[in-house]
Symmetry: C2
Subunit: 228 residues, 2 copies
Amino acid sequence: MGSMKVHQLARGFWEHEPTSLTLGCKRLRPLAPKLANTDTTTTTTSTTTTTTTTVTSFDLKSFIRPDSGPRKLTSPDDKKHLPQVETHPGGTRWNPTQEQIGILEMLYRGGMRTPNAQQIEQITAQLGRYGKIEGKNVFYWFQNHKARERQKQKRNSLGLSHSPRTQAPINTLAVDTRGEAAEREEDSPYKRKCRSWAFESLDLEETRSCREEGDRTLELFPLHPEGR
Amino acid sequence: MGSMKVHQLARGFWEHEPTSLTLGCKRLRPLAPKLANTDTTTTTTSTTTTTTTTVTSFDLKSFIRPDSGPRKLTSPDDKKHLPQVETHPGGTRWNPTQEQIGILEMLYRGGMRTPNAQQIEQITAQLGRYGKIEGKNVFYWFQNHKARERQKQKRNSLGLSHSPRTQAPINTLAVDTRGEAAEREEDSPYKRKCRSWAFESLDLEETRSCREEGDRTLELFPLHPEGR
DNA sequence: GCAAATTAATGATTTATTCAAG
DNA sequence: CTTGAATAAATCATTAATTTGC
């Protein structure tokens, strides 16, 4: 469940010791035909690794072609998933509970627009009490909410007040269903703050393959399968 | 240097154990006036900690207002940084070495456009051999390079060939200074892949304040000061 | 009443712009 | 003026609502 590992293995990766990258963990890609050209399989991800060869040097080939590739190989039954996609029980995307949304809206009304990493962590921690949630969800929520409030407001101001003015100062009374009053504030577009950041998931399959002990895979977030 | 901690403290945060979150590390927000009523405590549970008072409830106030706000409090000397921003010696932003760029361009020419988290890690690790670098740099590089190659190409096609055609098939001979041939490929805008993710930096000031031991702050990336 | 078919919301990504360090 | 960094806008893709036919 929601957890992140980032221990051993992660350290190895991120700290990029000048050594050979210790790609110790194989990464066996189930599919990945040997031909490898065009390939479009979507997901696959990975690094590819032309399978076998150990890898110790940079080996550019293994990087290119993030995904995509001919789906041959799988032959008959195709990618009808089923015995595959089961890795994560719940669903693919975050489905906020009422409490979570309530809190988020409160924060938004309070003036929060682009929380920084630390704030996101805390919010995530708190919201986690009401249901599964990750930091990225919080980040995205604010991004989306901000954008949509903005466009909603624009629509309104254009919709029922013909004069091009009355843009900023007046708090549009054309409220929608929910009270979404406070929006003015000092939204200040472009403020050049620091931004939230982190690398996530990777790919379920791959990560799985690396699993040896039971807790040192690399995943900052509870990698949700979504092979999207 | 480039490393990420994410150990002790981080685990506590991200895993959001239903317990009290142990926000041992203060977090004192310099600003954030005391007003605050409206409260709406909702949740309860720790986190936050408006400065001194221990705090045990959600306390939204401490979240809002990522930054900005009346900078009173700090009183005289202000946030003139200086003795503060020193955490990272070098400069603020990544300054790629020739080798790093060479490799990145190779990858780009090889067809890589939007590497996923795992790829970014590996690339970062390798490029780290030639100089300080973080995953976000790699991420941004690809993003920027892709965008700029695109606009450059557009400029060219419009600039020196009037016929709206000759857009795709021909490899524009109007090369700029550097060889940037391969650009065609199947760039496929919008592919809905999985994306890289991670939370970063936070804020120098705040993070610093948390510092107690010497290595268990929360920062997935070597927080670069840039108080931007 | 229910379940497939549609539509409305909105979570998640990618692309376009903008800012600013060097 | 080049380009790393960050934000905003545009999109895609799911999921929940809502409607419709039985």
